[in-house]
Symmetry: C3
Subunit: 301 residues, 3 copies
């Protein structure tokens, strides 16, 4: 399988020189944002990582090859192509075996990062336990991946369309630490706050690195959630976004939207009801996470 994992020139060189590397996911490019904002944001995020002294490794599957680091042409291809599968753990063998294109979720990016020997990964938000999962058992595979794969995930928390309280319970049961970067409370993606506490607040990349190194040195398998609040100037306030989500939930009920259709409906309504503000916040928080991840990767090397 060595021939399935293809490093870009930039990442291969970084590995050879033992430079700090930050993994980036690709569903945000193919499924998370419209073109051309998606490709532009991907490039901007990569540049932020370079500017902080680390090397970005955007991860995707192209023609069945797991690419660790994408060229500009490959970024463009991913950002415009229509036949890109969203790839989680269960899907990875399919896109590789059938030589398809795939954009990696948090779970699959963690897997590929670990294969490539990369320990830090920046994303927007992790998946979690969905609202109503007490009945539907709809729980993102990201959480099981965090329980077993040794990658630190820098994110702005989880989207508040999820059930954040249940997500924290699930992570606790599975022994996954949730670190707050300069925050005592779990950020909720668009907003800096939520009603929930993180496990530990750590205020510097150095302290977070020390935590992570200790975890793995002790042989404690699995990931770490590094929750990094969206910058203040880009935040959609907790009360504002909560009201919008509650409205969206009410609409879903009125329109009898159930099952698998609920999450896309909610995400779409949030986008519409916030105007362009949610996209702007999303871009800002991804950049903010990339910067912290670069600092963290430097501290870890």
């Amino acid at each position: 399988m060595k021939d399935v994992l293809i490093f870009s020139e930039e990442v291969a060189q970084a590995k050879a020189e033992q430079k700090p590397i930050v993994a980036l996911e690709s569903t945000i490019i193919s499924h998370g944002m419209p073109y051309p904002e998606n490709v532009q944001t991907a490039k901007d995020v990569e540049q932020i990582i370079r500017d902080r002294g680390a090397v970005p490794a955007t991860i995707a599957i192209l023609n069945g090859k797991i690419k660790i680091g994408l060229t500009e042409e490959e970024l463009e291809q991913l950002g415009t192509s229509r036949d890109v599968e969203k790839v989680s753990r269960r899907d990875l063998p399919y896109v590789v075996a059938m030589k398809k294109h795939g954009a990696t979720t948090v779970a699959a990016t963690m897997i590929c990062a670990q294969m490539a020997g990369i320990r830090v990964f920046a994303t927007g938000g992790i998946g979690g336990v969905h609202r109503g999962a007490e009945q539907t058992m709809d729980i993102s595979a990201d959480l099981q991946e965090l329980a077993r794969t040794n990658v630190a995930v820098v994110c702005a928390g989880a989207k508040s369309i999820l059930d954040l309280g249940l997500t924290l319970e699930y992570l606790e049961t599975h022994g996954v630490p949730v670190i707050g970067h300069q925050t005592d409370v779990l950020p909720a993606f668009y907003s800096r706050t939520s009603p929930f506490h993180v496990d530990y607040r750590l205020d510097s990349a150095a302290d977070i690195a020390r935590f992570i190194e200790t975890k793995w040195a002790l042989g404690l398998q699995g990931g770490i959630v590094v929750a990094n609040p969206v910058p203040e100037e880009d935040e959609l306030e907790e009360s504002y976004i909560t009201a919008i989500i509650e409205q969206a939930l009410a609409e879903a009920e009125q329109q009898h939207i159930t099952g698998k259709a609920v999450t896309p409906f909610l995400l779409d309504r949030v986008k519409t009801l916030t105007g362009g503000k949610s996209l702007q916040a999303n871009i800002a928080l991804v950049k903010n996470n990339a910067a912290l991840a670069a600092d963290l990767a430097r501290e870890l090397s």
Copy 2:
């Protein structure tokens, strides 16, 4: 523990010659069918595998020894004996340590197959998330086994007395792929259809083998569900069997049957209400799965 794992002559020779091998479980013999249909079916299923160019390895525990491949006498013993424990992961140490007889469930058969270096296993249906498990947490250990043990399980889906939707959610969370063989929808044991989609449809043993080899070559631990619909001529139609299950559920409620007693009650009512038809379908689908498993084992070797 080498001395606990006993290969039959036929299987030992197949291993020495690197021939394709298909594991078979034994609860279907001891607990799943009446005598003598159980022993006859077991022999027929083994012969189908031989006729397709692979070697059958029926797995059971006899006097504390894990038998990989049973002689005719051992099949007979298992099919008629009353003191055979039903063995899942948690029970395996007990029957081995206490030198008991045991028939292996899907979970335990996967474990023993992996110990024996066998990668393909044919069964009737896997266990799953039980109806009402949102309240009872009654979830078969088969699903956790699929999450961690590297064996491909060829089955006709899961019995529809289970909650198929929740079963799929649980497998998704744990990254277990569900492949449909020549079907887009999850078969429901007695019927070829259910309201649920498989993750991927693959139409040949060669394609399924490619998927499986890729999964394990990527280091993605765990099993694969290969869902193979019951042959058309033996099917009990979805609407027919659904109505029977709903009747059985209503009867369980009327008779205040709760907890552990529900599943045996439902299975018994289904058997009675379908007349001999459910047994006939069961036998047909097991044979059908054995044939596909043999093809798959050949492709994998």
Copy 3:
């Protein structure tokens, strides 16, 4: 990380001489009992283990070092200090990295015992699935630890403020065996009985050792629950303690106590409503478990 794991002189010598060793947790000292009963009980428990021919290894984190075996001064420090964190799997890297003090729960004690090469651990009761977890997903990390870490946990079952039925379902799904020592039913901490059956009753330390050795020899990863009922003379009878818990639950509802506040409230009410009797039972059952664990450690070596 070798320098993080510090063996006491007594335990180091026991390891060198391959003597049987029993791990003990420390939350019972720091969070489970008032001073000075906590320190006195810890010493008594250690002595019981020595008197049965094994060596006690109380486990705690002091100044970021994982101590395997505590001196008298360290026991005293742990029993009187106010700044001792309660440490489960997710917390372990924090207290080690930040050089804090920590008392280990069942989960963390299992982890540290495995690191130290100790296979038997005596405690009061394991954590489990909380009442109402169908809604709250509040499930102790102890259960996942039992699913993966190779340590036998001798306990008096789980406290009946938990949902014992759901706890057993969860353990079954994850393949964790629950052995009853001289009992067919799961003991419920203060009482010798509960409405639930154990998986297997084994009546001697030798038989339990045989079970455990077989499990691990078969390569079946994970722990074993050895459920050992509180001695008859110290038991609070099932009907008595059940009535008290039901009263406490009713009070919690009347006083609108919800979420994380419920468990401490219930434990506190049980303590008050049973007078000193629950503390006395707690001490008796821990001693009783230590004795069985010593016997088991002797049999396993």
